[in-house]
Symmetry: D2
Subunit: 329 residues, 4 copies
Amino acid sequence: MNTLGSIFRVTSFGESHGAGIGCVIDGCPPGIPVHLSALQKEMDRRRATKSYHTSRQEPDRVTIVSGVFEGKTTGAPITCFIENRNVDSSSYDELRYTPRPSHADYPRYVKYRGYADYRGGGRFSGRITAGFVAAGYFARLVVKTMHHTQIAISSSIIEIGGLPPEKIEWDALQGDSLGGIIECRICNLPVGLGEPVFDTVDGELAKALFAIPGIKGIEFGAGFTLARMKGSQANDQFYMEENRVATVTNHSGGILGGMTSGMELVFRVAVKPTPSILRPQQSVDLRTGEETSLTIKGRHDPCIVYRAQPVVEAVTAIVLADMGLRNGK
Amino acid sequence: MNTLGSIFRVTSFGESHGAGIGCVIDGCPPGIPVHLSALQKEMDRRRATKSYHTSRQEPDRVTIVSGVFEGKTTGAPITCFIENRNVDSSSYDELRYTPRPSHADYPRYVKYRGYADYRGGGRFSGRITAGFVAAGYFARLVVKTMHHTQIAISSSIIEIGGLPPEKIEWDALQGDSLGGIIECRICNLPVGLGEPVFDTVDGELAKALFAIPGIKGIEFGAGFTLARMKGSQANDQFYMEENRVATVTNHSGGILGGMTSGMELVFRVAVKPTPSILRPQQSVDLRTGEETSLTIKGRHDPCIVYRAQPVVEAVTAIVLADMGLRNGK
Amino acid sequence: MNTLGSIFRVTSFGESHGAGIGCVIDGCPPGIPVHLSALQKEMDRRRATKSYHTSRQEPDRVTIVSGVFEGKTTGAPITCFIENRNVDSSSYDELRYTPRPSHADYPRYVKYRGYADYRGGGRFSGRITAGFVAAGYFARLVVKTMHHTQIAISSSIIEIGGLPPEKIEWDALQGDSLGGIIECRICNLPVGLGEPVFDTVDGELAKALFAIPGIKGIEFGAGFTLARMKGSQANDQFYMEENRVATVTNHSGGILGGMTSGMELVFRVAVKPTPSILRPQQSVDLRTGEETSLTIKGRHDPCIVYRAQPVVEAVTAIVLADMGLRNGK
Amino acid sequence: MNTLGSIFRVTSFGESHGAGIGCVIDGCPPGIPVHLSALQKEMDRRRATKSYHTSRQEPDRVTIVSGVFEGKTTGAPITCFIENRNVDSSSYDELRYTPRPSHADYPRYVKYRGYADYRGGGRFSGRITAGFVAAGYFARLVVKTMHHTQIAISSSIIEIGGLPPEKIEWDALQGDSLGGIIECRICNLPVGLGEPVFDTVDGELAKALFAIPGIKGIEFGAGFTLARMKGSQANDQFYMEENRVATVTNHSGGILGGMTSGMELVFRVAVKPTPSILRPQQSVDLRTGEETSLTIKGRHDPCIVYRAQPVVEAVTAIVLADMGLRNGK
């Protein structure tokens, strides 16, 4: 469904070509100062891209509809709304019954029995992640209040199309698309976030991150590489670092037994190449069951990895805010 | 916390060296025939291993305490209990305040303020997965009633220590340990399981699977490899296969937009090498803050991948039963 | 928190004197025709009153922001928004630190540490029930699809100030206020709604109804009177009515063991007199701790029972839609 | 379903004539000393009765299966189990398809399609409340750690069959049964427990209390009487009592806007007369649809109010522990 979290809860709503998209954030503690310009800055990060100049140039301007009073959170649900402007749905008419390969179109059609709003991907558009980013802004504010040290969430793109990002020649792509790998690091987390055995930090992060369109894999610490190491290499041995328990290596990525260990939390997510490519592809007409060819029109971002990056951080902040509040911090 | 699921809900309880371990399964529909011998067979699969002969030889005998009457489920909560026998906790005394590297010991100590049962790993022992397997037995029964076709969950170990499993020379390990990669495949799933945008099939599976001790990564379909492909290679184009929509390739692993696509659901999980190895390791005394050396005693399974395999299937069944019931099947 | 329900879920947001109030409705099945005029009619029922002519005369006009496409529900979250117009918050300035007797002001101040929006009661205003009514409209549509017979939710006001409603002389109230009792009846419900032992139909209804400001009691069937009857009088004996199991009496109010029995579901709720009265009352200044006198200004509805009536029906519909979907109908 | 609560969560399991009944308590903080004798004392309170000498004389002996180590809670799920002994199910054979009036038998049969364990009422027996009482013991321990002052939960029976309890002549009942009213009072609660707008203290208490078999109504403070008062009489005016905000009256029963006000929390519940009476009653055969006469055999408690009293307190403690932990206390 469309609500994430247990105490810090985000409800997502809206469609790509409807009136707008947004979120309701419940469980945000009262008294936290809110700066619209900082929120807007996060929104703008999601719009920036190295690979692509969008024709929807206007900013995603956020309106705070409820839950903030006199510049501070009130403890009441915070509603953020981003209007959809300049939408042109005409190119989607012919896609209504012809699912685009590797898009959500086909199972959406079956599950919602043809009633879903298909325009611009509807509810399954990357656009809904603008609401995640707005919620992530508030989550970061909560995370900052959680702990005496300064929790910091950062990320970097470590691969695009299997190469270092700077090596990509965008002009040579010619209507094709690329995926990539984003690495996220969170430092200064307290020890013991996570509610085993089922509501683990890694499990909750993974669940939330798979809500971002295009994510196909996640690994913590050394991840899949760990599966190829021996225990004697893999184990993170303990030592004391200035009166604080630390580990010599961090193959565990800051998580042990589903709880934060106090070491840097590290994970990587795999983002698939944008399925919208400018080449004829094979599809079927869902009304007649006949095979057909499909050509996606319009300009599409050939690599959503850059735009996914602030979304990954936002979703991470949302989960950590919730896990922090659940832990009573 | 210790409950997983929304309609088909599993509550896990018990510790490795306490009275026993078990689970309460809520939301199981009434009237499903239960065969204790089949349940016991699943339990025995979890105990089998290629790498190791355990000294706790007795079977994990399951008692059904509630929820089954006259050989059928009643719709009431099903409680399964597995007694702990022949436990010898003496070797754990010296580990009480000295966390084992890459075990849950350290964050557990901090989070539960030293009150957790540390014997045999307590709540963080692989032993609690026996309860998952018992719940998985019932989940498979539910999954079978979900759909007219025969949903089948199977898995294989595709790597141990980076090699094909049959290439491992267990005798050469000498007190060290290995991890591996398990691939799970589910065929004949209906289209449209999964409750986007947050309760996706991939997200719910990932969350649940990270509850299995030692899992450090998950990827669906081509996963991390997908991040290195171009869209034109990655996209799964549609065709008609005997009046049924199908895709030429299945790089998406049977999931699109967080919903099942009707193609085979495929995922792989990375299992880290068992952290218990028979070599001196560096640790700290949590009472004094002094660095110390630690040697883990007793026999430990040098590779939990074989034992994790039926657990991965069981947890998968639990999630699919829940997603199926949520979808109204 | 601000989300109600398990499958059919309503998230409430907004404050009395903020930008507006509304709700997000998740889990509504796709393909249900939506009629804005019928929705608006429900909204208007909540505004009508016999006791009072409000100075906020403009209608509560609902905008559907998401989840409806081409006149039908899509399965995506439905967002309803009602703008606040013509609000005058000036009379609330002096109430900011002086809690009104029997209002939520005092615990709200403590819980939200003074940061809550106090204007017009903020989040604790009866105004937020406009969002419940909007959600109730959709819930009724779902309830109608649930069962082959025609489920009907109706209610009546059986007492105002201890008297039959028609006996009240409103002009004689002189700045004082009255409460009352609302009886709600639902007929043609299927047998077996309710998820015992904890998620009972009576329990879920009670929980939801206590979210309506002013409700102080609820009883099902003969309720408190049942506590004064003997078993031989109280028991509802069974007979066959046209091939259908029925009971001679219905002291149980259509609920047995937390499940619907197929008989008419009957409950009554007690609504307290509006706490806003035009007389000086005793309060305290929360900053200084000094006792003070308080006079509430402006016109206030001396009896919210009429306005609560459609809200009671709406909340009942929300719970029944959820219980119906949970039951797989 | 069978789990109650959000952070402090109780999962109930077991049937009246199965192997036993019990509960799993999740979310109990670690380090709380547990005294088996005190727990057993609570269990014994539930068994005592003024109206009836039961033939099942043996005590409800609780076994703690998990979650307690070295005499203290560990933070892991606490499992309590109470074996069923001396059960004689023979008298229930003829009730299998003949529902007892005002029992759960009929909707249970329909909902669980005849597969439910009917012996001794199965899952709908008052016996399952023994598990609630066990959980309540732990909840009281949590409640005690919540606040600097001493929170105290007490209750009294204020009516039996419409009379003061001491006026009842039990011997004159002659196979009939009586209900009654229990009043519960909780003092020294902090201000601000409750999570409006939906997870109110009154709503959560009401929901939980309706899980107790036989409860048909609940009112807070003056409750239904409040609906007959004028605002000028009903309002609880504020004053200062030794540097603490207090109210002159407490018609609100310690709850305002769904939150605790710091005044004594007061509620009353209506308990219906035991439906098992020793007189022929009218029923139907659920297989044939024929009307039939039914005579319930065996000895049955003619008034469960005494036994319900400690259950009401236990359930109250469970809810307050959860609301306290949710509030971060």
